[in-house]
Symmetry: C3
Subunit: 144 residues, 3 copies
């Protein structure tokens, strides 16, 4: 993996076989990123779990064949245990058909190119929202 | 809704039931945004109208079941009557199949996370292009 | 085409009939962009070639009917011969079904709105990776 930063934006070059969440988490830890948007992500993935939120749980599709990563967007918040990364992705199969959803897991194939927009003076939170049953982004969680 | 700004980029946290265009428009008015790109948008929507431009009109699909919002991109210009917001979106159904197009209307479900890149010294316009029959982005409309 | 820059980000307004790669390449040359992410791109295309990398070659689909450009992400590096532009795209047909993949060629229809995040102090490379059989992004290629 390579990472470079210029002002508030950060570019990541991920390598074949890397776990996408672990790689973005490592970049966030190394650069002290506690608040960011994921604004671009392309390349390929060799495995992924895609989720659809039913209101109670994620309906999960396991993907274990290479797909083009045609789009990646999301956010990075900061929890006690480390970066909290929320990603949605679009994946294209050999016939160029696109599936997508909430990304639960992904392994990079060939190469990955990811761009982050950080909010250097900020810490985003992701507290559990009991009424929704999942953690939701809090842009201004106050001192933690 | 929460909004935070750091330098030229702005993050929005939208809430269940909010109108997506009204929320982005409100953030643009409150922060004096007259020129911006929408560079990320994820979460869910509970209703939306997706359009395909035939050259004469939009072929519209009404969506009234929850879909994952897997991608959102676009631009914000400024008209006399307020912010002019142009959005394209990708939506995934429970089977993770993706539909997309020009977004005419959308209501947030669960949560929405949207990132804007603003051009603080600028005002983008969106004048009517009579030959095309629709308003198109003008990056340098001059004094208005 | 119009282009405006504010700090490190650049907005492009492309016009009907323009080649997408030639237009982004021209903007990169004119503004001296040697390292950037493509973070947003919407509008329509009237023709495109979409690729899926099999590990040996691109499985290509030729598209020659107008599609909504619902998402565009990628990177710009700099080679001796000029800008090296890597783009992945999602395209929607009149029924709002989405196809996507590695973009090999595209011609703008109606209008295109593209946003770049540049890394002004940087030059990204795209050297040939012999083991993969294709050029991959190098964020820190050293003096060239």
């Amino acid at each position: 993996m390579q990472t470079v930063q210029e002002g508030s934006h950060v570019m990541l070059r991920l390598d074949d076989g890397q776990d996408l969440f672990a790689a973005i988490g490592q970049a966030a830890r190394e650069r002290g990123i506690r608040a960011a948007a994921v604004v671009s992500g392309i390349g390929m993935i060799k495995a992924a779990d895609l989720g659809y939120w039913t209101g109670r749980e994620y309906e999960v599709e396991h993907i274990d064949t290479p797909h083009e990563l045609v789009g990646l967007q999301g956010s990075i918040a900061s929890l006690d245990e480390g970066p909290s990364i929320h990603l949605h992705a679009q994946l294209a199969n050999p016939h160029h058909q696109v599936i997508g959803g909430h990304l639960l897991r992904a392994t990079v194939a060939v190469v990955g190119e990811v761009c982050l927009e950080t909010f250097p003076g900020r810490t985003f939170g992701r507290p559990m929202n009991e009424s929704l049953g999942l953690r939701t982004l809090d842009l201004d969680p106050g001192p933690i």
